[in-house]
């Protein structure tokens, strides 16, 4: 593992896409001690034309979540009267907090599902790259998935240790680590590398550090070029988000657009 300068920023191709998803949920009431959760999830892709972003694909869902194995059929029928889809969360035991945790899992899964849908729709047409917020596990096997570029902001999963970890976490600005392969739970193989977007001196070692991921089917001959594209995306800064050092502005805009479509809770 070594640090490799990638060169200066390079403009990404015209028509590049940016994908992200958002979710929100709240407990609207209880049947006994069982919470009824109201959830909304959305995912979308913005395409850049010139220096403007425009909406390309968007999906949104609103639904209720109940503990499916403990709900009386009559109550379930009453929920149907709201006109929203009703999903079930299977909690290991009956407790409101556990039920909420289970509901949150459902929400997250559904959001990831929508993200897969919008990314798949974008990748199925054309030949433009797509920058995805997060890893690419869900896209394995999708048509055109080799054009997907995952940008992971969180570093909760440790892939390196020892001197390799030191090299990765102390990358200078504008440098990347060597590429390392990672096999996903579904058997797909990804190529991954760390990229320092912003200098970390006087900051946390994770400041400005992103992990980039690509499906191994795409090869790794354009790692430096993709890194330069991402370096170019440092401007403008998504200053409203505390994760601005790793959050690309177009990704931030996808979130903003999706939340704007939500408005307030109905």
């Amino acid at each position: 593992m070594r640090a490799i300068p990638v060169g200066g920023p390079e403009a990404a191709p015209e028509g590049i896409g940016f994908a992200d998803g958002v979710q929100r949920w709240s407990v609207e009431g209880h049947f006994g001690i069982a919470p009824v959760v109201h959830a909304e999830v959305a995912a979308g892709v913005l395409v850049r034309e010139g220096d403007r972003l425009r909406g390309a694909v968007r999906r949104a869902e609103e639904f209720l979540i109940v503990p499916g194995n403990r709900l009386d059929p009559a109550l379930r029928a009453a929920l149907d009267g709201f006109g929203l889809a009703v999903r079930t969360a299977e909690a290991p035991r009956a407790h409101p907090l556990v039920d909420r945790w289970a509901a949150a899992q459902v929400v997250e899964q559904r959001r990831e599902g929508l993200e897969r849908e919008v990314c798949g729709e974008f990748l199925a047409h054309g030949d433009q790259p797509l920058v995805v917020d997060g890893g690419l596990a869900g896209l394995a096997g999708a048509s055109g998935a080799e054009r997907a570029i995952g940008v992971v902001k969180q570093h909760e999963t440790q892939f390196l240790d020892g001197e390799d970890l030191v090299v990765a976490l102390t990358l200078p600005e504008g440098s990347r680590s060597s590429v390392f392969a990672r096999t996903l739970a579904n058997g797909a193989v990804t190529h991954s590398w760390y990229l320092r977007l912003w200098p970390w001196s006087d900051e946390d070692v994770l400041h400005g550090l992103a992990r980039v991921e690509r499906l191994a089917t795409g090869g790794d001959d354009d790692v430096d070029r993709v890194s330069r594209w991402l370096l170019a995306e440092r401007a403008p800064i998504a200053g409203r988000d505390p994760r601005w050092d790793r959050l690309l502005y177009p990704i931030h805009e996808v979130e903003t657009v999706l939340r704007a479509h939500w408005g307030g809770w109905s």
């Binding site: 403009a11 990404a12 850049r48 220096d51 403007r52 972003l53 170019a232 995306e233 440092r234 401007a235 403008p236 800064i237 200053g239 409203r240 601005w244 502005y249 177009p250 805009e253 903003t256």
Partner: protein, 649 residues
């Protein structure tokens, strides 16, 4: 009510901090939407249609702090632009012009926003109530031009010339010729569109500086876009057809005190010359406040009522017929001589008037012809506006630019007072008169002494509309004009304004953006307030179809003053083109200048068929001085001595 002919350009937004109200709302557009400050927009929704004018606009992006932009460009403002442009918003504030239905008055619906088309503009400004039908009273004031829409903007004649409201006040910085141009354009519009059924209309324009109004009958070279505007507004792009010029003489009494002295034009300038009769009623103008006490006032009344123009016999048996300043001086001399002889020179009263009061009035009055030389004459003669014979759609341009303040005050006061008198009697010749006065902050200032001129202008602005006497006042600083004068103006027009002026309280109701637009308004644009318009409206107007003063002076350069005799001959020849100049020269050679002046003025007044004969008759027989030498003296026989009737018997 929604015809949908105009594309949607924005959408009304309302938040708790920026709610939509019945009088104001906010909407956003794309950055390239064809709207700006002053544009009229239309909102349809919730069963109502709202027309509004944009009064403010803001643009911002999601940039939290400028520091983020510095960081993103790594401190280099010349760095390549970021690949993604930040999302930005154009947020506009609009003031409601009209809501349909008007009742119940409700907040503006949160709906789509469209640019106004020509019909919308008419409805928004309530012009539909007076711009159509047989009772049309619309006077074009300019073209609305925004959002791809061009539409004529009309004033309501009933609210410009009365009786509903009246008067126009126009403000703007000096030097752009906007104020004068706008007034001349508006007069052209008025003369074209003022309904015949409303009576006849004329304009009296006081030229107070330079040659501004000296070439109203001369065409200018209008650019095609201005000609197009005239066509769009239905106004002929040609100079005024009937213009009558008046100017006083200079101190020499023969050269006109105006810049319209080019030989091709000067013949159309009538001299403005007033004698005692014309001036005496306006002595208040000429005398300062310290002069006018009750005693002096009483003596002036006595002179006006009992002396001037009437046979008068004094206590010492002398008969007086005072028709001129010279005659008045004769009366004063008789009074002082009589008092000198009476009571051994100690008499102090004459007909209840103290001798000191008489002396003061005499000094002030007799100085008038000196201080206003050229305008006021010692003699019995006058050249005046044709009160009683005013022509419909004619401009009477009175050039007072060369007069000092006192003379200007006298001209304003007398002419406006005469107009008022004749309009009250309905015998002026027209039923409506527009009086245009520039530099109103000088003649009706907000502070300073309460002059007769200011009182006259106040009276005109407060009572004029009932008489058909309308003031078009122009000034650089509206805040420096008496508030009752500007306050009575039903229509207010603004050209480019001075920033300091805009900071005064009178402009508090305007938004910051509107003020900024006013401070940078290009030549040819105005902001108009009119009783029918609930918000100010910006319009474009064409250059007036007449030569501007500066162009006029270049094309018709004034000629230098000519000698007395040449000036007289030139005026005589102008009255009779067939006259041989040498004959006129011979006629006046060796004659007293006062006699010549008097004869010329009389000839000008009479306009006889045989000018030379009339002039000769008025000039009278020459009384030549004869040199008496020794020889001829000896040839005269000694007179037979008469009996001395006073010889002691």
């Amino acid at each position: 009510m929604t015809d949908g002919s105009q594309p949607v350009i924005g959408r009304v937004v309302a938040t708790e901090a920026l709610p939509a109200g019945p009088h104001q709302f906010h909407f956003w557009t794309t950055p390239d939407a064809p709207v700006g400050i002053g544009a009229i927009v239309r909102v349809d929704g919730g069963g109502r249609t709202v027309h509004a004018v944009i009064t403010d606009g803001r643009a911002y992006s999601d940039l939290v702090t400028p520091l983020h932009d510095v960081m993103a460009s790594e401190g280099n403002p010349a760095a390549a632009p970021p690949p993604t442009r930040r999302t930005e918003v154009r947020l506009w504030t609009a003031a409601v012009l009209r809501q349909e239905p008007a009742e119940p008055l409700q907040p503006v619906p949160l709906a789509d926003v469209r640019s106004a088309d020509a019909h919308d503009v008419e409805v928004a400004l309530r012009m539909d109530t007076y711009a159509r039908g047989d009772e049309r009273t619309a006077l074009p004031v300019g073209l609305y031009s925004a959002g791809g829409t061009r539409a004529p903007i009309y004033l309501d004649a009933d609210f410009l010339l009365g009786p509903e409201s009246a008067h126009l006040s126009i403000s703007g910085v000096s030097g752009l010729a906007t104020k004068t141009s706008a007034v001349l354009f508006l007069l052209a519009s008025l003369f074209t569109h003022f309904p015949k059924r409303k009576g006849r209309v004329a304009a009296v324009c006081f030229n107070v500086k330079g040659p501004d109004l000296d070439f109203l009958d001369q065409p200018s070279d209008l650019p095609p876009e201005d000609v197009e505007m005239y066509e769009a507004l239905g106004i002929p792009a040609k100079p005024f057809e009937r213009v009558h010029y008046y100017a006083p003489y200079k101190a020499d009494g023969v050269n006109l005190n105006t810049l319209r002295t080019h030989p091709a034009l000067v013949d159309e300038v009538e001299p403005l010359v007033w004698g005692l009769h014309e001036v005496l009623d306006y002595t208040e103008v000429l005398l300062n406040r310290d002069d006018i006490d009750a005693k002096a006032d009483a003596f002036l009344d006595f002179l006006a009522d009992r002396v001037v123009g009437k046979p008068f016999v004094d206590e010492w048996g002398q008969h007086h017929l005072v028709e001129s300043f010279a005659g008045l001086e004769g009366l004063f001399r008789a009074i002082f001589d009589g008092l000198e002889q009476a009571a051994g020179g100690r008499a102090e009263m004459w007909r209840t008037h103290h001798v000191a009061t008489i002396r003061k009035v005499r000094n002030r009055l007799m100085n008038v012809s000196t201080r206003c030389k050229g305008l006021v004459t010692d003699e019995v003669m006058s050249g005046d506006l044709p009160f009683g014979a005013f022509e419909d759609r004619a401009v009477y341009a009175v050039d007072v630019a060369g007069l000092d303040q006192l003379g200007q005050d006298l001209v304003f006061t007398r002419i406006v007072s005469k107009l008022r008198e004749h309009l009250e009697r309905r015998d002026l010749g027209v039923e409506n008169v527009v009086v245009f006065v520039d530099e109103l902050n000088k003649y009706a200032p907000a502070d300073g002494p309460d002059t007769y001129v200011r009182k006259m202008l106040l009276d005109l602005s407060e009572r004029g509309r009932y008489l058909g006497l309308v003031l078009f006042g122009a000034q650089q600083f509206r805040s420096q004009v008496h508030r009752r004068v500007v306050g009575n103006a039903g229509t207010t027009v603004y050209g480019r304004m001075d920033g300091d002026e805009l900071a005064t309280p009178g402009y508090q109701t305007l938004s910051v953006a509107t003020k900024s637009k006013l401070a940078t308004l290009p030549k040819g644009e105005l902001m108009v307030r009119h009783p029918h318009f609930t918000q100010p409206v910006f319009v474009r107007f064409p250059r007036p179809p007449v030569l501007a003063g500066r162009q006029g002076v270049e094309r018709f350069p004034p000629v230098p003053d000519v000698p007395f005799a040449d000036a007289i001959v030139r005026q005589l020849v102008a009255l009779d083109r067939g006259m041989a100049p040498q004959r006129a020269h011979d006629l006046i050679a060796g004659r007293r200048e006062d006699d010549v002046r008097r004869a010329l003025l009389a000839t000008r007044r009479a306009r006889p068929a045989d000018v030379l004969a009339f002039f000769t008759a008025r000039l009278g027989t020459a009384v030549r001085r004869q040199r008496v030498d020794e020889e001829s003296a000896a040839a005269v026989s000694p007179l037979k001595p008469l009996e001395d009737p006073y010889a002691p018997t």
